[in-house]
Symmetry: C4
Subunit: 195 residues, 4 copies
Amino acid sequence: MGKNRLEAFSDGVLAIIITIMVLELKVPHGSGTEALQPLLPVFLSYVLSFVYIGIYWNNHHHLLKAATRINGAIMWSNLHLLFWLSLFPFVTGWMGENHFTSLPSAVYGAVLLMAAIAYYILQSLIIAEEGRESRLAESLRRDLKGKISPVLYAFGIAISFFRPWLAGCVYVFVALMWLIPDRRIERAVSQPRGG
Amino acid sequence: MGKNRLEAFSDGVLAIIITIMVLELKVPHGSGTEALQPLLPVFLSYVLSFVYIGIYWNNHHHLLKAATRINGAIMWSNLHLLFWLSLFPFVTGWMGENHFTSLPSAVYGAVLLMAAIAYYILQSLIIAEEGRESRLAESLRRDLKGKISPVLYAFGIAISFFRPWLAGCVYVFVALMWLIPDRRIERAVSQPRGG
Amino acid sequence: MGKNRLEAFSDGVLAIIITIMVLELKVPHGSGTEALQPLLPVFLSYVLSFVYIGIYWNNHHHLLKAATRINGAIMWSNLHLLFWLSLFPFVTGWMGENHFTSLPSAVYGAVLLMAAIAYYILQSLIIAEEGRESRLAESLRRDLKGKISPVLYAFGIAISFFRPWLAGCVYVFVALMWLIPDRRIERAVSQPRGG
Amino acid sequence: MGKNRLEAFSDGVLAIIITIMVLELKVPHGSGTEALQPLLPVFLSYVLSFVYIGIYWNNHHHLLKAATRINGAIMWSNLHLLFWLSLFPFVTGWMGENHFTSLPSAVYGAVLLMAAIAYYILQSLIIAEEGRESRLAESLRRDLKGKISPVLYAFGIAISFFRPWLAGCVYVFVALMWLIPDRRIERAVSQPRGG
């Protein structure tokens, strides 16, 4: 059913995204601390985005481990998720270079929001394929973090026009919240099928 | 017989192509909407190319799933396909930066056309190896979309010198036409060999 | 337990890091030897970093071969290691372009040090998961090279503010020391489980 | 024995090399044919290098398929080969941008020569591990192409200082000579072990 190749392709894209982001850290011409200083905000936004891609890779990994069947809709919703994640290098560089000002922070939040929605669609399609009675469906019934995150991203986008630094704090907070891998799915999968 | 490594290598190349295209979206220096605006056509052409690479990945995936034997000719025709796809970042950036003007639109269409021809050659070689009586050969006997696409690309190339915006519409139309994965092959493969 | 995907993702990231480093070797405009000469220090630092990434890939490969169970902490400590390795293209280019001067050499050493610490954490978490009685734990009990390296990196960082060329020598020396793959783990793994 | 991961890592590096070479095709600012023209030599050198990386991928694939045991020396000689291949994007861009003039053509040939030597070392180490009586060793006993190529590369390097265009012809000729995958190994492997 091509699950292996879907995982391999996603791994490839995520590995490239996480790595080419560092190309936005342009090598400075000077060799003193004054040459490094302007790179600090770009570096900080790189760290944040690295963590986000890591979170997506982790959760994507757990989600697909629980999936047993892949169909065309799942394939395309997976590409849809990768599309929004592929914009990370751009929005990361833009937010970093402009020192977390309003519009770049809002656009960064918008990409986070779209990626969250894309992940939700992918998850829903996999659950639909597995059946509403499947262990995966059950383990995600509450999915508190998945429901709170988009709300927080939307709040971050709105607040970035008034207190841009607060938007950054919101994005960091959501990242910390997710740093713990989705143990619910993990537990469901590790349990024997027979329950 | 090396099918796995052929798939892995193709996945790698396609994953890189789809991801480095975003590097053409150069991070602007300003932080206002006026800094983002000139990027809009580049972004639109990026979306279009992302969908095209996604289509090729999907169809390539289905085609190779149906293949049981790989020979030297198949390997090289696969590399030939990857060559034309590798030009996507260049033509995407060029068309986007020049706001879909005549020559860039025509060159974009030419790369689409060459990739379609390369895919057709790859498909023919795999069918030849599988045998004209194979399920794959049967499922692709009509292959309407595969026959119409090159004609539409050629039309797009021609029209781009008179109505460049129409060429863009043609490319978008073909992409939408292909968004549905090739169910014929999918069906043939999922059926048990014994028929 | 997702070990395969962890390896595949790490391979992808390491393959990209090792390859995009070469992008810091900017194609010069002239075509004579005088156009190549200023690239020599960048080339040398590229060779050094290529060897380091090769060492990490080799040791990572042996370490994960010995691992039988992967948990969330191992996943994140693996990403933590990849984070520091992802800074290699930046620090390599910066050190090379500034001809191994003080601060760039110190920062290069700092990234080496952080990567070594991240590797140590990853190794410790894998050993903790495998159990203190496992063959892996036993084979790494002494781990002389793993203990000396951070000390040498720290010495390299300190010395780079007084004799930057000596820092370079230290980094080269540690690389040579590691070039030999970790035979202890290799031996432990190749021996039959029963001992 | 880690053969799978060695192949996966090599595939990753080769896929990235073959794809980032296209980044040397800088998107021009104009939109007319006069904007494309200066890119022609860069494009031609890109095609040549694409074919060379394809040849290496093909032969590497056949060689490793015949290998049954991997040791540390094979791992490092594989990285050594990847190192020289990683310089392709640089020398390709430099030769293309300088319209196949003397020094860039000679340096391109030098990288080809070093890659050929690295491949020969890798092949020799694999044969040594397999045993001089192995089918692989037997099938490579004559290895005419492998012996002629370095001589031709050396000739290309020398001639590039007098007739640079002739050096380009030599490199194209060797590429054409290799385009046919190494049928000797292919045959040896496909035959049943018992002979």
